[in-house]
C-alpha cells in the first residue's frame, strides 16, 4: 500500500461518512416535511428554523445534546450504555462495501467508488444488520422496563423472521449474478436490471417488504409502536443515547435503500444503458436511493401499523414460501439459459 492509495482511501472514507451523516441529518427534516404535506399540514415551520424550516434538525441536535442523560437506577448499566453504540457502529460500518458509481482512472490508477470492494459484500452487510438487531434487543432488556422489554422481544422475533425472507430474496440475485461482490452484481446487471426479469421482480417486491420490516419502519414499527408501548425499546433512553438510536435507524434506511438499488435496480446504470461517467453514475445512484427514502416516508404517511400476529403470518406463511419457490425457479432458469 503506497502513500497515494492511503490518501485516496482516507478521502473516500471522509467523503462517504460526511455525505451519509449530512443526508441522515436532513432526512429527519425531509420526513417531517413530506409526511406533513401528505397529511395536509405544512410541516416544519419557517418561523425560527430558516427557509422551509431547514434548520429544524440542528435545533433537534442542540436539544438532544443539552438534555439530561438519564440511566435508570435498576437498569443494567454497561449493557444500557453499550446498546445504542452497537446500533450506530453497525449502521456506519455497513457503508464500507457499498459502491456508489463506476470505477474511474485518475493519474493512471484505477479507483473503485467504494471504500473497500469486499468479495463477500452482501454477506458483510447482512451480518452487520443482524448484529444491529442486538442493539434493539439489548436496549429492551437492559432498560429493565416492561415496555422496553416488549419492544425488544417484538424486534427480535420480527427481525429474525424477516431477515430470513430478505436473505432468501437476495439469493436470487446472487444466483443470477454469480457473485457476492456488490460491484460485480451491478456490473453483471449492466443496463438489464434484475427487476425486469420475473424472478427478479418477485424478489425485489419481497426485498422491499422485508427492508421496511428490517429497519423497524412503519407499517412494521412493532418495536417502537408508540401507541401501545410508549416508545418501545428506547422508552428509557434520553438525550444523546436516544439520538444514537434515531440516527442508526435513519442510516439503516439509507443502507437498505442502497442495497435495493444495487441488487435490483442496476446501481448507477440507466435502464438499457451503461453509465461510465463517474459523476453521472453517482448522481443516478443517489437519485434512486432518494426515491426509496421517499418511499419510506410515503409508506409511513399511508399505512397503519400491522398487528403482531399478522406480521408474523405474512413473514412465515407468505414471504418465505414465495421466496423458496422463486429460488427454485431462478435455479432452473440459470441452469437452462445460464443467465437471469
Amino acid at each position: 500500500m503506497d502513500l497515494f492509495s492511503i490518501i485516496v482511501l482516507a478521502l473516500k472514507i471522509f467523503l462517504v461518512f460526511g455525505a451519509v451523516l449530512t443526508i441522515m441529518i436532513w432526512q429527519t427534516w425531509a420526513e417531517r416535511k413530506v409526511i406533513g404535506h401528505m397529511q395536509l399540514r405544512v410541516g416544519p415551520s419557517s418561523d425560527f428554523l430558516g427557509p422551509f424550516g431547514l434548520l429544524a434538525p440542528l435545533a433537534d441536535g442542540i436539544k438532544l445534546l443539552t438534555k439530561e442523560d438519564i440511566i435508570p437506577t435498576k437498569a443494567d448499566r454497561s449493557v444500557f450504555v453499550l446498546a445504542p453504540l452497537i446500533g450506530m457502529a453497525t449502521a456506519l460500518a455497513a457503508w464500507a462495501t457499498i459502491p456508489f458509481g463506476p470505477q474511474f482512472s485518475i493519474f493512471g490508477r484505477e479507483i473503485a467508488m467504494s471504500i473497500s470492494s469486499l468479495n463477500i459484500g452482501v454477506l458483510f452487510i447482512l451480518a452487520l444488520t443482524s448484529v444491529g438487531v442486538y442493539s434493539i434487543v439489548l436496549a429492551g432488556w437492559a432498560s429493565n422496563s416492561k415496555y422496553a422489554l416488549l419492544g425488544g422481544l417484538r424486534a427480535s422475533a420480527q427481525i429474525i423472521s424477516y431477515e430470513l425472507a430478505m436473505g432468501l430474496s437476495i439469493i436470487v440475485v446472487i444466483l443470477m449474478a454469480g457473485s457476492l461482490n456488490l460491484t460485480d452484481i451491478v456490473n453483471a446487471q449492466g443496463g438489464h436490471w434484475y427487476i425486469f426479469t420475473i424472478q427478479g421482480l418477485v424478489a425485489a417486491v419481497i426485498f422491499l417488504v422485508t427492508m421496511v420490516a428490517e429497519t423497524n419502519r412503519a407499517p412494521f414499527d412493532m418495536a417502537e409502536a408508540e401507541t401501545e408501548l410508549v416508545a418501545g425499546f428506547h422508552t428509557e433512553y434520553s438525550g444523546f443515547r436516544f439520538a444514537l438510536f434515531f440516527m442508526a435507524e435513519y442510516i439503516n434506511m439509507m443502507i437498505v435503500s442502497c442495497m435495493m438499488v444495487i441488487l435490483f435496480l442496476g446501481g448507477w446504470n440507466l435502464p438499457f444503458f451503461v453509465v461510465t461517467n463517474p459523476l453521472l453514475g453517482v448522481g443516478i445512484f443517489v437519485a434512486k436511493v432518494f426515491f426509496f427514502l421517499f418511499l419510506f416516508y410515503w409508506l409511513r404517511a399511508t399505512l397503519p401499523r400491522l398487528r403482531y400476529n399478522e406480521l408474523m403470518k405474512i413473514g412465515w406463511k407468505v414471504l418465505i414460501p414465495i421466496t423458496l419457490v422463486n429460488i427454485l425457479f431462478t435455479g432452473v432458469m440459470v441452469l437452462l439459459f445460464n443467465k437471469g
Binding site: 413530506v34 401528505m38 395536509l40 405544512v42 419557517s46 418561523d47 410515503w298
Partner: protein, 162 residues
Amino acid sequence: MAKIIDLIKYVTFWEILKGMSITLRNLFTKPITVDYPVKPKPAFQTYRGIHALQRYEDGKEVCIGCSLCEAYCPARAIEIHTHQDPNNKNEKVVDVYNIDLLRCIYCGLCVEVCPVEAIVQTREYELSGRTREEFVFTKDMLLDMGRKYSGKEVYRAYNVNS
C-alpha cells in the same frame, strides 16, 4: 371468482397502492393549516379585536369625552376621566381612557354607541401577556393602535353591509 380477484388484489398490493395514491395526491394539494406566526390568518371583515382610538387628519383626537361608552359597557371595562378645556368651553379634555381588556367581552357596544366614531375595533387578535397590568390599555396605547390601523379596514358601527 371473487376469491380470485381478492387474491390478485392481495398479490399486487392493490389496496395499499390505492391508499398511497391518496397520500401522493395530498402531497401536491394546498395544506389546510397555515404557517402561523409567519403568515397569520387574516381575521374576518367584521372581527372585533383590540380597540383603537382614532385621530382626525390634523392630529386632533376624535374622542370628545362624552363617557357614553363607559356608561354603556356591560363589562365595565372602560374608565374615563375628563376635565373642562380652559381655552374652549365647548370641549372636554380626556385625561384617562383605560380599557381593561381582561374585563372586556368584545361585544362592540362601545363602538356602536360612540357618537363621533372615536373608538373602533381592529382585527388584532394576538393578545398575550404575563401580568394583569399589561392588559389595561391606556389612552396612548389605544391611540398607537389607531395609528397602526389608520387607513385599514376596522370594525366601526354600521359598517356591516346589510
